[in-house]
């Protein structure tokens, strides 16, 4: 019951934020200097076409009416037609959401695989050459541009060694998973570097804490202290950091999808910006913001299950 209440409370919190997000996205197109219709039509703009599009977009109505129309569009999932693809935006976007979500999942898996062992190792052996090695490595990795690392991976593992596809997304689940390995690893590096540093300092704090001393003086085995006390407690803030980073991973996916030619939301966004296809731009931005909000909700709920104290706040 308490769990249910907590989820409900979090959902209610989301509503005002969601509302403001729609206002921001709505204003986005209206802020374009000059007539958005003219810019959207680009070279093809004639006074008649502009007038038709302005009418269609409702640009002649007062702002508040336009915003009402925009909300209605969102609720009825009718996001208009893409100018470049001449298809409904929703139809265009649906298959791409899977790619981007897949990329974020792949990235998260790599972050977990990289950061937990390395962070724990560095923290439990702090002050040793191994620790400084991991620390220095993390610092260097933070300073690397993802688009460059991705390009290097593509060159080495794709073009040279043929271990992974050079671009695209495949047709079957296995092909999808296969083509997400390099992009996932690329996206995971920066976040891993941050979580490794975070986990490392947590482990050092926990190892020197009173409750670990107490557990030891109770005569618990080192293995039990490690599993039940050190690892669990040092993980809590790292998990929070990781969930906060998911928004960044989504942002990073824009660059990574372009590097690996993955047909996801990010690549669509960049392509649509160049094509001035603002109906698509608007919807993609809305989708990405929605994904961030949903991920935040899920992590909050999962977190409240892991650490019951959160619910009492």
């Amino acid at each position: 019951m308490r769990q249910f209440n907590y989820i409900l409370k979090r959902l209610l919190h989301m509503i005002p934020v969601l509302f403001c997000v729609t206002i921001l996205i709505f204003l986005m197109i209206r802020l374009i200097p000059g007539s958005p219709a003219e810019i959207m039509l680009g070279d093809k703009a004639t006074p008649e076409k502009i007038a038709i599009l302005e009418e269609k977009m409702g640009l002649n109505e007062p702002l508040i009416v336009q915003y009402g129309l925009f909300l209605k569009q969102i609720v009825t999932l009718d996001f208009g037609d893409s100018i470049t693809y001449a298809r409904p935006v929703l139809e265009l976007i649906q298959p791409k959401i899977m790619v981007t979500v897949g990329l974020v999942i792949s990235t998260t898996i790599f972050v977990l695989l990289l950061s937990f062992p390395l962070g724990y190792l560095a923290g439990s052996k702090h002050g040793t050459p191994l620790d400084s090695g991991i620390k220095t490595g993390a610092l260097i990795v933070i300073s690397l541009p993802q688009f460059w690392v991705g390009t290097l991976f593509l060159l080495l593992f794709g073009l040279k060694l043929h271990w992974f596809p050079v671009g695209g997304w495949g047709d079957t689940f296995l092909e999808h998973a296969h083509s997400l390995i390099l992009p996932g690893l690329t996206g995971a590096l920066t976040t891993s570097a941050l979580t490794i540093r975070n986990l490392r300092s947590n482990v050092i704090d926990v190892v020197n804490s009173d409750y670990v001393d107490f557990a030891r003086s109770k005569g618990l085995t080192e293995k039990r202290i490690k599993n039940r006390h050190i690892i669990r407690n040092s993980m809590i803030s790292t998990v929070t950091l990781l969930s906060l980073r998911i928004a960044n991973m989504l942002g990073g996916s824009i660059v990574i999808e372009t590097v690996f030619s993955l047909p996801g939301l990010g690549k669509l966004l960049v392509d649509s910006i160049f094509a001035r296809d603002y109906a698509v731009v608007q919807t993609v931005v809305l989708m990405l913001a929605l994904i961030v909000l949903i991920v935040n909700l899920i992590t909050d709920v999962a977190y409240s299950m892991l650490d019951p104290r959160v619910r009492l706040e």
Partner: protein, 298 residues
């Protein structure tokens, strides 16, 4: 936030040990606090020399094409090889230093100042100013950083100046949040109470008493933020939304080299080395700054 993560007990104890020694022995010079700072500074000085005097370092003109030297592999004559127009890539990388370093520094400075001022005001006065600010932050935080930047550039049009404006419009949020939370703690401290009792003006309390005590965390964040801003700028140019060709910029150089990946691997790989070196330099500098400020504050 990222800077706080690397605070470790080990480093703290080491720093405090250093501080004890400081009281016993003679005063420490700033370069004795942190090895990272020293290495970072050396790299930054080299990078700055490249940025200020490219004409003395670059062996060729960055934008002059040479039909006789198209896509030559790296050699003694062309250190990083040449591109599809026969331009010397090393020279282009050298000339690009100026733009990328400027992107890192200028994109960071405006949000540092504006964000800190907003954080100071919201944190000190609280009330409705603070409530409105926090709601705006909630919404801005719902978007990934680079997504916001891309969307603003999409509205304003691509180009270096518009990219700066986009980063400025987004990046203040981190400083505002950071400074606000520090101010909330500082304003209840004894020295602020004392200043109030003495009848100092609010401006004097904010600028003279609170600011010096909260500015450290903003500076620590800013030092690490230079790398973030530089990488964001390079990523934007890589996507084609930042610096316009043929201006030599590191991200754009990698991007123009990508279609030729199979024939000329050096075009898309070697310019990245420059970003790495500059990035590591600024990261080490950021780490070092946080070490020094931590040691000094004790």
């Amino acid at each position: 936030m990222e800077q706080k993560d690397n605070t470790s007990v080990f480093e703290q104890t080491e720093a405090s040990r250093g501080e004890e020694a400081h009281h016993i022995k003679k005063k420490k010079h700033f370069w004795q606090y942190s090895m990272s700072l020293n290495i970072g500074l050396v790299i930054i000085v080299i990078v700055l020399i490249f940025a200020f005097f490219p004409q003395f370092i670059a062996p060729y003109e960055p934008n002059t094409s040479n039909p006789d030297a198209i896509m030559l592999a790296p050699s003694a004559e062309h250190l990083f090889g040449t591109d599809n127009y026969g331009r010397d890539i090393f020279s282009r990388v050298v000339w690009g230093t100026r733009i990328d370093v400027a992107m890192g520094i200028f994109a960071m400075i405006v949000p540092l100042i504006v964000g800190s001022i907003i954080g100071l005001i919201a944190g000190y006065y609280g009330g409705w100013i603070d409530t409105i600010l926090m709601r705006i932050l909630d919404v801005v935080m719902a978007f990934p950083f680079i997504l916001m930047v891309i969307v603003i550039v999409a509205i304003l049009g691509s180009g270096l100046m518009n990219m700066f404006i986009a980063i400025w419009l987004v990046a203040w949020r981190d400083y505002a949040r950071l400074v606000r939370s520090e101010v909330m703690i500082a304003k209840h401290s004894e020295y602020v109470m004392a200043a109030k009792v003495l009848g100092y003006s609010e401006i004097r309390i904010i600028l003279g008493h609170i600011l010096p005590n909260v500015v450290n965390s903003a500076i620590t964040f800013a030092a690490a933020d230079i790398v973030m801003c530089m990488l964001t700028g390079a990523s934007m140019s890589f996507l084609g939304l930042g610096v316009e060709p043929p201006t030599p910029e590191w991200g754009a150089l990698i991007s123009t080299g990508r279609p030729f990946m199979t024939q000329a691997w050096w075009m898309c790989t070697l310019p990245g080395v420059a970003i790495c070196i500059a990035g590591v330099g600024f990261s080490l500098f950021g780490d070092g700054i946080s070490d020094v400020l931590r040691a000094k504050s004790r």
